[in-house]
């Protein structure tokens, strides 16, 4: 029988190597480490708990069933986030969820259309409690993130929630470095505008 190892203190690359040797505990350790970050990223992309759970699950199944293909030159977490992001984007495309812009729908041309399709952070239809929550920066920022374009959302989440460098985000999302910087800059700008009335 293989000796019991404390996997919690091992770096990702070592845990992955053990998983490649067929150790179930290593698979479980990888899930334990990344279930929350992956689920959070996917949830904030699709805004649907059930779909996010399915997509996060699919991400892990894909990655862990192909663990033998992992190359140590690439960060394991980057590989995981890449699959998660791709699945979330595919899901959004399939569902054809309209991108909600705080400035109104892209095809809105008249003032009335822009007003009708523009995004409000605190809807009048919500309860007083919801209104209060939306006024808090944490709740409001979640709403503002939801209003971002999916590609902005992925970049901003990886940058500020996962603490990834611009280079890592570029590698994870298969985007040029300049594009990542532009997306993050625009996302911050949109968030600033969205949160002007809240702060």
């Amino acid at each position: 029988m293989a000796p019991t190892l404390d996997l919690r203190n091992l770096p990702d690359a070592d845990v992955v190597a053990l998983a490649q040797e067929g150790r179930e505990t290593a698979f479980r350790e990888l899930i334990r480490r990344y279930e929350r970050p992956v689920f959070s990223l996917v949830y904030r992309m699709v805004r649907d708990r059930s779909a996010a759970e399915d997509l996060a699950q699919e991400t892990f199944i894909k990655v862990l069933n192909h663990i033998d293909r992992y190359v140590p030159e690439f960060k394991f977490s980057s590989w995981l986030f890449k699959i998660a992001n791709n699945l979330a984007i595919d899901h959004l495309r399939k569902k054809q969820l309209p991108t909600v812009s705080i400035d109104g729908a892209p095809d809105a041309t008249t003032a009335a259309q822009i007003e009708a399709t523009s995004f409000e952070l605190a809807s009048h239809a919500e309860s007083a409690l919801d209104e209060l929550e939306a006024r808090e920066l944490g709740g409001a920022i979640e709403r503002a993130i939801a209003a971002l374009r999916p590609e902005y959302r992925a970049c901003i989440m990886l940058r500020h929630v996962e603490g990834r460098s611009y280079e890592e985000i570029a590698a994870t999302l298969d985007l040029p470095l300049g594009t990542v910087k532009t997306y993050i800059h625009r996302a911050r700008h949109e968030l600033r505008r969205a949160l002007e009335g809240v702060r």
Partner: protein, 198 residues
């Protein structure tokens, strides 16, 4: 010293804590421009709020559901290594004993190999004797099987005709077996049709 307000990308550089060559003049401008300082402060607040966003947890059964669909596969080289490890004793004296035994066995095999290499005529004689013995054993077994299944007449025929007779008998056996299988299958089909129709 910059005598204009900072551009949005310049504000990003400061918020990201960039320490590049061009950032010093931007910081110098910040010290003298309240409006730009406010804009940087606003951007920092957004970043701080983003960084405080919590990780969300999936359901408690998430890991089990994932593992239910993951095939944990042990590669052959790992399986071989683990199997070999099972035969390695845990205690040091036992390990030493096994190592000494291995060395002794290797030494003996080496001696035998050298001896065999120097006496190739003896090796050829021993090999020839072993092959003759094995052939005799196989012939006895085959004769016993053919005698039991096809009877003594077939056995006499094989003895008289040699390899050709043996091949003919095996072909005959194969044809009979095929006819028997097909016949049984046909009977089973007819029986199932009859029971299905009733």
């Amino acid at each position: 010293m910059i005598d204009r307000h900072l551009l949005p990308n310049e504000i990003d550089l400061i918020v990201d804590g960039d320490v590049g060559f061009g950032v010093a003049p931007l910081r110098a401008h910040l010290r003298s421009c309240g409006e730009c300082r406010n804009r940087v402060e606003e951007a920092r607040e957004i970043v701080a709020a983003l960084e405080e966003l919590p990780h969300l947890a999936p359901s408690s059964l998430f890991a089990d559901r994932v593992m239910g669909q993951v095939q944990v596969f042990e590669p052959w080289h790992v399986a071989a290594r683990n199997t070999a490890r099972r035969f390695v004793p845990r205690s040091v004296p036992a390990r030493v004993a096994v190592a000494l035994g291995g060395v002794a066995a290797t030494f003996m095999l080496g001696v035998i190999s050298i001896f065999a290499a120097t006496r190739l005529d003896l090796v050829a004689l021993a090999t020839s004797a072993a092959v003759t013995r094995a052939r005799g054993l196989v012939a006895t077994v085959v004769e016993a099987i053919v005698g039991a299944t096809l009877g003594p007449t077939a056995l006499d025929f094989i003895r008289a005709t040699g390899a050709i007779g043996l091949a003919t008998s095996l072909l005959f056996l194969l044809v009979i077996a095929t006819i028997a299988v097909l016949g049984v299958r046909r009977l089973a089909l007819a029986s199932s049709r009859r029971s299905g129709g009733s």
